[in-house]
């Protein structure tokens, strides 16, 4: 296939991935690597390099809007980025020492996890569980407030605290390792750390997670670039496709078919997970 034809096909595939990822809130990065590796037969290391660049693009683009709306907590983000960036370096270092088959199997397991938890709204009213901070969180000034229409909010702003900081910090290191190893944003693990472990409101968790993904991916992308895993001919259609798709997805305000789409997308993730694990175990990747 010529470079022009290949670029066109990859662009369209990435456009769809970015669009669905943004619309369903599951992120496009997680399907880009399987798409490139399984459908186009591209070496998984090139696929990861290209995916990382697109992850930075979508994260930074979306974060810009959230930050300005006041949902992301910059202190929490910056504090936890200490864990994710070091984790990302460890993950990128690990990527050169393990076989591509092993990467494919781990990728499959993460896809399975993403499909299982999806972007469901966990523990409604997480903030209501108590907005008192633990002593450590108090010292680190991790508490904050976010725009909310709830009754408990003062002037439209709802205050919250943070708890179990060490647990959240450790989970974030793990999220960083996965991001560096697999070239994904690992937003699902980041949300898990903030929402479930640290008890932050869901909206704050998702937006702060998005905000951190770009910095985490930048750490591993630098390493991948220096190692020659970022091929411009491949990264170009992937990045432009994902960015275009994500932009279209965020502009489109359809409410009804989103839940159906989300189920379809989760089904796709599960199918890709099985395919990745099978190909990894049989040594085809």
């Amino acid at each position: 296939m010529t470079a022009t034809a290949l670029s066109a096909f990859i662009f369209v595939g990435s456009l769809v991935a970015g669009f669905l990822g943004s619309l369903t809130g599951l992120g496009g990065g997680v399907v880009i690597v399987p798409l490139l590796a399984l459908a186009f037969g591209i070496d998984i290391r090139y696929a990861i390099g290209a995916s990382l660049v697109s992850v930075i693009a979508t994260s930074s683009g979306a974060a810009a809007a959230y930050v300005r709306e006041g949902f992301s907590n910059i202190r929490i983000g910056m504090f936890l980025e200490m864990a994710t960036t070091v984790g990302a370096l460890a993950g990128a270092a690990l990527a050169t020492h393990v076989s591509t088959s092993a990467i494919a199997v781990v990728f499959g397991l993460v896809l399975m996890y993403s499909a299982a938890i999806g972007s469901e709204h966990p523990r409604t009213g997480a903030a209501a569980a108590g907005n008192a901070s633990s002593r450590l969180a108090e010292k680190l000034r991790l508490n904050g407030s976010y725009p909310s229409p709830d009754a408990g909010a003062v002037d439209g702003w709802c205050a919250y605290g943070a708890r179990r900081v060490p647990a959240g910090f450790s989970l974030m290191f793990g999220a960083g390792v996965l991001s560096g190893l697999l070239g994904i944003g690992s937003g699902a693990v980041k949300v898990l750390a903030m929402d479930r472990a640290m008890g932050l409101p869901f909206k704050v968790s998702t937006t702060t997670s998005n905000f951190m993904i770009g910095v985490t991916a930048a750490a591993s992308a630098g390493v991948y670039l220096a190692r020659g895993y970022v091929d411009p001919g491949l990264a170009m259609p992937v990045m432009l496709g994902v960015v275009g798709g994500a932009l279209a997805g965020s502009k489109l305000l359809v409410s009804a078919p989103v839940s159906i789409l989300r189920w379809v997308f989760r089904g796709v993730l599960a199918a890709l997970a099985i395919e990745m694990i099978y190909n990894g175990l049989t040594g085809r990747i």
Partner: protein
């Protein structure tokens, strides 16, 4: 001059938006040049064989960009994309310092140090 958290947030959002837009534009221009000149070639991505050495370093990319090389232009756009979140962290270092929040100035410096290591030293 003292900045409020809200002002800092507004500026951070602006930094991110401009970075992504400029980087995507450079990648797009590079992509057009690349496909016009090398669109007929058949690249092999099935087997990993490392990209050309000059596409892996900042100085190598900079030299090739001057000659108008398509793939080098794309790589420059990718470097700009990677630099966008890094700029955000640089901005945070200054913003927290201006706010005299030394704890978070230190936290931001640590993150910046890790990123600098990743971009310039790690192999």
């Amino acid at each position: 001059m003292r900045w409020t958290d809200e002002e800092v947030e507004q500026w951070m959002g602006r930094v991110l938006q401009i970075g992504v837009a400029v980087a995507a534009l450079v990648v797009f221009i590079g992509g057009v040049v690349y496909l016009v000149h090398e669109g007929g070639e058949e690249p092999d991505y099935r087997n990993f064989h490392d990209v050309a050495p000059w596409l892996k370093t900042t100085s190598g990319i900079a030299q090739a960009v001057i000659t108008g090389h398509g793939r080098a232009l794309i790589q420059l756009g990718i470097l700009l994309m990677i630099a966008t979140p890094v700029m955000r962290v640089v901005f945070a270092v200054f913003a927290f310092a201006v706010e005299k929040d030394w704890l978070y100035t230190g936290v931001s410096c640590f993150v910046l140090a890790v990123l600098s290591y990743a971009l310039f030293l790690a192999r």
